[in-house]
Symmetry: C2
Subunit: 264 residues, 2 copies
Amino acid sequence: MLENSCCSSDASSSPWLLIFFFSLTDGDGEFEAVPVRSLRCRSCRVCRHNIRAEGTAIIVYRLPWTWQCSKLMMKFIHAGLNLTAFIFAIIAMVAVFDFHNSAKIPNMYSLHSWLGLMAVILYGLQLVLGVGLYLIPVTPVSWRAACMPIHVYSGLFLFTSIIAVALMGITEKLIFGLTNPKYKDSPPEAIFVNVLGLLLVVFGALILWIATRASWKRPSDQIAHSLHTNRGGEDNSKAGPAMSELEDGASCETDGDVRKRNSK
Amino acid sequence: MLENSCCSSDASSSPWLLIFFFSLTDGDGEFEAVPVRSLRCRSCRVCRHNIRAEGTAIIVYRLPWTWQCSKLMMKFIHAGLNLTAFIFAIIAMVAVFDFHNSAKIPNMYSLHSWLGLMAVILYGLQLVLGVGLYLIPVTPVSWRAACMPIHVYSGLFLFTSIIAVALMGITEKLIFGLTNPKYKDSPPEAIFVNVLGLLLVVFGALILWIATRASWKRPSDQIAHSLHTNRGGEDNSKAGPAMSELEDGASCETDGDVRKRNSK
């Protein structure tokens, strides 16, 4: 698939980078070696699963080895990965509340917790609306096209927010979890976890890069996009840019795809 | 300008929201009322100036009341605002080092400081490359087009990173700055600053939304984009999507603009 004419060198060279970062974020691999006990807690582990599932869901349409699969199947995989990420987020939240209650720590006092709760609520809303709009056959095509820019933007924004929340969580855990020596004394554990935080940012940057490049689109979508834009600028401006460019590939479908599925 | 046919209801209704958030982030206004002493420090104040200048620089091309100005003037304003933001970032860093040294606190131990330093270094690099590519007349047009997707992506990514760094900084400040009552006791100051943190996220979301919508483009760029995409899909895929859609408007210019300026 990498030799497909629609696939540029950008898309063909980057899977190795991607595999590297996915292996780094493997919950049962590298990250389990975190030497700070507080970062080996259930909530932290589940948060890592959440970010990995969400990142995969965003780019799942754009991985070259998925281009041969049908669009409908990829939509179900996208929805399934997002549902998995959402369940992980709920498990992480319950684990945090349990930990706070058992340690007599107040709940929901920090900016980290506020932003985290808001991100989870909005993520659930995104999931429900996404399924309602793009997986229920009776939804009008015009609604799908109209909502696509918001769906794509909010997906990427929520992914970015969850990484920011994770970074704030890492900061809190290191401040409260490291006591002797303290975080400010820069023990090896602190350096190690700081490096993991940097890698998390690199992982997020890579996902966002792939999700916003035309060269990573499924070939069928690239052709559909060319046909779409060749119809004229008016159509393009009505559908919004996200329909063609900013999409995560997750739910974007050509008119043909929609009609084919609706007729099933 | 709001009645321009190229300007959709999206662009015409949002300036009020924008003004609202800009007034909230006014360094000499609302934020100065922050009741936590540690958040009234010089570094925090300068960070707010930095984020405001950077956000303005990103969308300065897209504000309807700037559409009548020449592209070249807007490019200088964009570069000037980014330079201002960079100077604010340097001042904030120097202030933090001064504060740490005077209070005998180690420097550069936290993930917040690591990410902050990296963001400032990359921001400086982005500034130098941006001026070299888009303000020096001898730079070939092909280089400008080739680098535009990276310039735009890295601009938006750095803006997002700086907001994440600011949120981590707020978390640290509240943990270390509030002692009696503590942050976990949720005193009114903590609630107030948490709300400001949420507003910072909303501000960032709004800037990113405006920076990625076709309806907020300058009318001349919208027409240029329509002409560009109507030429065919091949051109479009070569230039990359950011050239037409993901651009911050900062440095995107039509072929005509470039030739006109180079001939001066």
